[in-house]
């Protein structure tokens, strides 16, 4: 069995490499760019200077939070494709609270992070509740709630909770005390990166070593057996979706409090969706997800340089990401997704 799993894992790595380098090269050739030049500028753009490494780690951080959230839901047998919306809500809560209530740093930073976790968690709790109490398919509800989240935050930030005038799609600027401190000068890298790594380690431990983690995995891997063993499936579904949303919400809060220093309705270029690929490539294991988010973070930050320097459209990165998701849709880990 382990040998079989190892073979499958090796095959999956092969599939990802083919998707990234094969399709990437083909697309570059279509754009009349030598793949060597294209990938060269991508790697150089991602790792060429300390500042570029820092930006790669910023993108890694932004992907790591939602990917960890998605993995928690997936391990419980629930497909949360609402990370994007949960991240938006978390970001909005952080931006609004941070700009609204000037507090000293030791209160302001916990406030924006916890505010983000609560807002994202609430957005995850809705499909969790619909699933646990009413049996509503969480895939469709999380998908629909993504759109509602974008519209709701746009409405709030331009309407009732506006902090800046003129229909601006931004909150006010966060005071210095509410901003997550930088790890490196001349970069956008903050201690949110460390927080993400710590969270990954904690989640790994929770999944592996705690009763809660065991129940979560049991509910995901063998729901019927878990139910017979007395695990409350409805409760685990609700808790897993709430936790999943809260983690994505913290991610949104760190983008706001660390990178942008304000909430903006365009804060995410689709991190919540790219994170699905990250979670799958990371085999839904928090530690491997760290590595996977570094890989996709590299594609995100290097893609900019690839477009600017080699003239390869950035869309190649998204194209490859989408194909990786398709290629990994057959993973064993998600074969047991609860469907009723």
């Amino acid at each position: 069995m382990t040998a079989l799993l190892r073979t499958r894992a090796a095959r999956d790595v092969g599939v990802v490499l083919v998707a990234v380098f094969g399709v990437g090269s083909l697309a570059m050739a279509l754009a009349h760019v030598s793949p060597l030049v294209g990938f060269g500028s991508l790697f150089d753009g991602a790792f060429g200077t300390p500042e570029e490494v820092a930006e790669t780690l910023v993108q890694t951080t932004n992907l790591l939070f939602p990917a960890l959230g998605i993995a928690i839901a997936f391990r419980a047998g629930l497909f949360n494709i609402g990370a994007e919306g949960q991240l938006m809500l978390g970001g909005f809560a952080a931006g609004w609270l941070g700009a609204q209530f000037p507090l000293p740093a030791y209160l302001a930073i916990p406030m924006v992070l916890i505010g983000g976790a609560i807002a994202g968690g609430a957005w995850g709790a809705i499909p969790g509740f619909l699933r646990a109490k009413l049996g509503a398919n969480e895939v469709i509800s999380t998908l629909m709630l993504n759109f509602v989240a974008t519209l709701l935050t746009t409405y709030l930030v331009t309407g009732p909770l506006a902090q800046t005038g003129g229909g601006s799609q931004e909150t006010g600027t966060l005071p210095k005390a509410a901003q997550i401190p930088d790890m490196m000068v001349d970069s956008r890298l903050t201690y949110a990166f460390v927080l993400a790594l710590v969270l990954a380690a904690v989640l790994w431990w929770v999944l592996k070593r705690t009763v809660f983690g065991y129940e979560l995995r049991a509910a995901g891997e063998a729901p019927e057996a878990a139910r017979r063993a007395g695990i409350d499936l409805a409760r685990t579904a609700f808790v897993a979706m709430t936790l999943s949303g809260a983690i994505a919400g913290i991610g949104g809060a760190t983008i706001v409090a660390g990178v942008l220093h304000r909430f903006n309705t365009g804060l995410s270029p689709g991190y919540g969706f790219i994170a699905i690929a990250v979670a799958l490539v990371g085999n839904l294991d928090p530690l491997w997800i760290v590595l996977a988010s570094l890989g996709f973070g590299m594609l995100q930050s290097g893609g900019v340089a690839m477009q600017a320097e080699a003239g390869v459209p950035r869309e190649v990165v998204s194209l490859v990401t989408g194909l990786v998701i398709v290629a990994l849709a057959g993973r064993r880990a998600i074969a047991n997704r609860r469907t009723t």
Binding site: L143, T154, I325
Partner: protein
Amino acid sequence: MNGTALAIAALVMLTLVKATPLIYAALGGVLSERSGIVNIGLEGIMIAGAFASVVVSGATGNPVLGALAGVAAGALLAAVLAFVATRLAVDQIVAGTGLNIAALAGAGFGLVVVYGQPGASREVPALGATGSNVLIVLAFVAAAALQLALARTPWGLHVRACGEDPSAAESAGIDALRTRFWAVVAGGAIASLGGVYLSLAELDLYSDGMTAGRGFIALAAVIFGRWTPLGATGAALFFGFFAALQFTLQRAGVPSELLQALPYLAALVALAGFAGRVRAPAADGVPYVRS
């Protein structure tokens, strides 16, 4: 005609224009899901239809050829989903999500390769008013035909059987994998007409993100319409009506975000069972693996 009658006629026409792409995409979704394959990739299929039809219409100068190419592209993308969902028995939601991302990026990439610019294509020969009207009428014909075909033909029975219980269907001599495959491909062909309508009837070009989530609104219409062609068409008309009313209601003080959120909220309400019992096909989304 007096002013009111004119205003009503304009509203009806605008409703039809807004609803038509949704109807095509929703019909494609219904056909796919009744066979047991959840098609989250409707958005990507619309994008493929919209983009390919513009490229071919521009290259040949013939918008009808363009429309056919759009249908072919949509069917091809659906065939990818159908293949991985039936032969490889992968998770349909995950695969569909990936296809959407890839299709949007692929079209954005294609814009640069074909037109040498990001953002939008140049203007190409379009279907015009006649072509637009034909597509509107055809949407309703397709809805009625699909309703009849699903309910009354042996093929429709096979499709529904595969959506409810594929292994029972196979015991009865139906090839469930093949039936599902072709239902998804045919659904993709229908849904792609929604994209063709956007790019070659409503407009005469492709621009990045022009489908603007309509594939997901169509998914909402499938659910709100209880997985039947006529129900989904009704839901699409309902959503189209509010889209058409958007400017009027906005002037009356209704937040535009609320109106835009309506389809998604309606689907959530339907899913939660607040609007009566909603039941998806029993084997919808469940990969079928022969034992």
